[in-house]
Subunit: 211 residues, 4 copies
């Protein structure tokens, strides 16, 4: 167990879920919520990537493990810390926000559409992570945080009206606690996101057979 | 045929056209559509550029071929995959979107204005691509995806009110299927975009005689 | 005393506080104020970081000093110049703005919420600064200004509705002069921001024991 | 005379002024005009900086000349091409735009406020250019286009409501032709912008005595 990496994963996931709650729940950032969320993910990756890899997302950790860049022990540790950080962030939001929503903000979603939306952009996210942060061809670049964080920004504006735009099981859990997502829909998010992590990992391995 | 490069071109073009459809067609991203579209192009270039060059655009592939950095065989393969990806992305959007537009969103465009708008910003796009991704003077930089993707962002906000802002024959085809552009106007886009790719390639060759 | 570093700190802090005033006070940048403020911080860090470190923020200077990358003499000099720059920026805004607010724009803030909001995002800011600008693991990167400046952007959209989003004692002083913040609340900002700088510095030292 | 550098200056200045006109004049980019303008400057600098330095702005060329990184012959050539490009861009906008404004959009500006606004952000722009594109301490960085282009973005949102936000004599000329600025105010822009270029150059020389 690398306690330093776990602390970095905690901090990054906490700020991601905290920003989701603060920016999405009224009074928040309005249409700028997607910019705020993609941006906070970017800065946390730039800050913590050199210590933990900057996952902050169980689907990313799943993809990195399947790609062969994390042990199962590390992955389990990351998953636990990411979910705990999301829960604590949701609780902090509930302390600060004057009025939390009483009904899920994104409760009435189309099942097929939401499955597709969450699958596609979580695939894009893990595909981008593996290519910009673990591939030899992009080694030493200075854009990894921008590329990864802003994939979430693009997804939030592209499919936010369909699924709310989670792309991250920790955000899904934290968002469900904050009534951004409905608990009854949680399977949609988790199935689509984790499957996307698997497909992205095998896509990466097909594209980079020697690595 | 490099199957890996073709798969990367498929993924990148798919997400570009998918984001165009999801962000532009109501309910979408509103005024943030241009940000979402430029951003998704940026992240796909950062992710796939080291494998395929990250064209995702037949006009870019045309320019890269004329600049001498792609064989005609590769170019034809890229063109086919880019158009197929655009068609599939349009179909996926039609599955997800509750209401596709029945009439073209950008149907009533001024011919001269739209020709100029599409020519100018497709020229800018291919000029930027060739300079930041194939020139010796910018070798090893970490900004190529930002520069290329955000050229489309700037163009979308600058001339979106004139032509809708395609700058890409694959986006033009996908957008026509999704009724974002009118089929009767498709020649305007294709003529302007492909001509711009040619002019940008020769401009680059004039500027870099030794490369 | 390094007069060049002090001049750079003056210029950077001046433009940060000037932009805060111009963008926030009506007629300003509306919802784009957060983008403008994060952006101006980014560009001033990219411009001046190689001379002064690009702090422009007494809480950052406190964190850098506790992390061991600045002497107490330098820190005191930075603090004085940062506050003086903020005061002068506020005065210049009052010359340009046709109508300064007569009552504090963010006067009625919840104490616990504002303490949490200012503490959390000032912690994030100093944590990002120390990791991207002083850590061996990110040495030579080209993203430090983007990461630091856009942490303030994310924070502005995330918690701007709670505390106004200062994260910087110099901005707090300048903002109080411009009636963006209420003088009666200044202790909330200063306590939360300076405490966050301390906690971020010790977090960094725990994460990088050898540096 | 370096014909290649002059062509690059023409292209970059053309797209900058073209985007100003298209984004600002209704129907344009609305509140996103500042983002579009800063972004197009960024991409043109990333594309052309390795050939011409990527000035696209007579005040920047003035500053670079005074800093000792351009001959007077080069500077005069740049100035002529920049102004010609601005004039042609304004004419192209007048061909595309269905309705050009009949009265200056930013005609009624406060003299002192506009002088200060244009001076301050043109100073910031030239200060950023000299530090990120000509200083030894930032040599080889990948952020120069982002830093320079987004200085204009920050300025547009900070002081756009005061002066319209030109920071560039070529934009001032092109904008006056397009009735974005009033001809009677042109001295305000030119005096403030050129003076800012001078002050920024001497500030840079004070900060970097050995270069």
């Amino acid at each position: 167990m690398n306690v330093k990496a776990l602390l970095v994963e905690f901090i990054g996931t906490f700020f991601l879920v905290f920003t989701v709650g603060m920016a999405v729940i009224d009074p928040g950032a309005g249409d700028f919520a997607g910019l705020a969320i993609g941006t906070v993910l970017m800065v946390m990756i730039f800050a913590g990537g050199h210590i933990s890899g900057g996952h902050y997302n169980p689907a990313v950790t799943l993809g990195v493990w399947l790609r062969g860049k994390a042990s199962i022990t590390d992955a389990v540790g990351y998953w636990i810390v990411q979910v705990v950080a999301a829960i604590i962030a949701a609780l902090v939001v509930s302390v600060i926000k004057p009025a939390m929503p009483t009904a899920a903000l994104n409760g009435d979603i189309p099942v097929i559409g939401a499955l597709l939306a969450e699958f596609l952009f979580t695939f894009a996210l893990v595909y981008v992570v593996l290519n910009v942060a673990t591939a030899k061809g992009t080694d030493g670049n200075s854009f990894y945080g921008l590329a990864i964080g802003f994939t979430v920004l693009a997804g939030a504006y592209a499919v936010g009206s369909v699924s709310g735009g989670s792309f991250n099981p920790a955000v899904t859990v934290g968002g469900s606690i904050m009534n951004i997502f409905a608990w009854g829909n949680i399977w949609i998010y988790l199935v689509a996101e984790l499957l996307a992590g698997v497909v992205a990992a095998f896509t990466f391995r097909f594209l980079h057979p020697g690595e």
